[in-house]
Symmetry: C2
Subunit: 285 residues, 2 copies
């Protein structure tokens, strides 16, 4: 019977370090600032935004929210984004996605200033992630996975890590980050044959496949660490992950819950990336 | 005892298709053109260049070589590259790397026009590779691996493919391409523990680790297909791969030789990418 490992202690530890770093920056007359660009007022965007603003405030990072109308045209959106790019006070930019239909993500991703793109929207940061160029910014959620593994002293070097899911939001980026930590990385997905035979050999299982409670104990090897990146709503209307926590914990050594797992850490990573961006922009790295 | 599978039939098959496509383009008044940018006159660059020019000529693709002095300064190199970017007749650009020391690859890669970058030098194409955006160009060598597997009817969908090596030249890009083909992909490297236990379970093994004849039969499962991307010189001065072909073939169903394997296919892929670039630039895709 394994242990539930929560995100909050990880987030708190990151915040403590950042608070000190921000104090040092302020002593130099520099205050890091995050600008959030939001189109419309989607409920899940607003929920994440509240968490991000609260986290940044606690750490001492300035924030601004640019709310744009749901029906904004592409050219107007781009004009607004360019203003944020050029705003000297803004070090990091977070843009909520997906966009409404009239906005073309495949165009806009080339507009955001890569050096302020703290959640890996720009292709420049996607390429840096793949190339292990650490001047870039990995997306916040996969980065949170790595921080959790590190915080709980789960060794990655030389270990077998299996990633379930190959999305650009979780699977592919977390695979690159695990490689950077010297894990042997296997990427499984919907076309994988006999997935349990693959995943049950892993020391670390990262689950991000987007299916509620799909992964149960038959997918998990003895003493594996399981990080559940899924966010779904179960038949009773409660939040749940892609892993069936109660089943997996019978074999896993550790597993993150949903809620209170990976999701609790992402805003701390966002804040960490804003501070990093601020330091890079001020030649302090 | 397995079979040696050579690159030449694959290259020939690609060339036959391309020759017809180029004829059709010429009937529309369009001739695809590759411009090679070479700094200095390194022997291996010249050897590859000869092969590329010959291949393009056979297919009907125009070519031009821009040879620049070994000691060219960064600004002058960038000015020359911008001329090639803007040359309307040029559809594809190949730039030999590594560069001499005075040229900064991390700057220059952002200058090459992504739509003409037929060997995935630009970060835009690296990101497109990771995102499975097929308007981009994967690097030629990993693409050659996939073409060989397809030509020899080696199934990839749902199969276990293991990639040995995590370089940006071979390992990471070929992993992304194998995922696109719906393989379950494992990436091994120098820090992998007990590598033979991992690789011997694979249906497909891609070897690109840069160590002469390192991979022998103990790494290979029965009936696996082995693609050897290594190019090394052995103790007798002969070319050899990263796999010990004679040993591996005892267990593998098929293995590519070195020379006459993957290396024979890359210039055909280069030509294929030039034709694709030409079509995209003329809105013919």
């Amino acid at each position: 019977m394994g242990q539930i490992i929560k995100g909050k202690p990880v987030a708190d530890a990151i915040s403590t370090v950042l608070t000190k770093e921000v104090e040092e920056l302020k002593a130099k007359g520099i205050t890091p600032k995050l600008t959030i660009v939001r189109v419309g007022a989607n409920g899940s965007d607003l929920a994440y935004e509240r968490g991000a603003l609260k986290r940044c405030a606690a750490i001492g990072i300035d924030t601004e929210v640019k709310e744009l109308p749901e029906n904004i045209e592409q050219d107007d959106f781009i004009a607004e984004l360019k203003k944020v790019n050029e705003d000297k006070a803004t070090n990091g930019i977070l843009i909520f996605r997906p966009f409404p239909k009239q906005l073309d993500e495949s165009v806009i991703k080339y507009i955001i200033a890569p050096e302020k793109d703290v959640d890996c929207f720009s292709p420049v940061n996607v390429a840096k992630l793949m190339e292990k160029d650490e001047t870039g910014f990995a997306p916040c959620t996969p980065s949170a996975v790595i921080e959790i593994l590190k915080y709980y002293n789960i060794p990655m070097k030389g270990k077998n890590a299996v990633v379930i899911g190959r999305s650009m939001v979780v699977g592919k980026p977390v695979s690159m980050l695990l490689l950077n930590e010297n894990a042997t990385v296997t990427i499984c997905h919907s076309k994988t044959q006999d997935m349990p035979s693959v995943t049950s050999k892993a020391d670390i299982v990262i689950v991000g496949i987007g299916k509620a409670k799909m992964i149960d104990s038959k997918y998990i090897g003895n003493e594996a660490a399981v990080i559940d990146v899924g966010i779904n709503v179960d038949e009773k209307g409660n939040l749940c992950g892609d892993a069936d926590t109660d089943s997996c914990i019978e074999k896993a050594s550790m597993i993150t819950p949903v809620p209170a797992g990976v999701g609790s850490v992402t805003t701390s990573i966002l804040a960490k990336h804003v501070v990093k961006a601020c330091k890079l922009q001020n030649n302090l790295v």
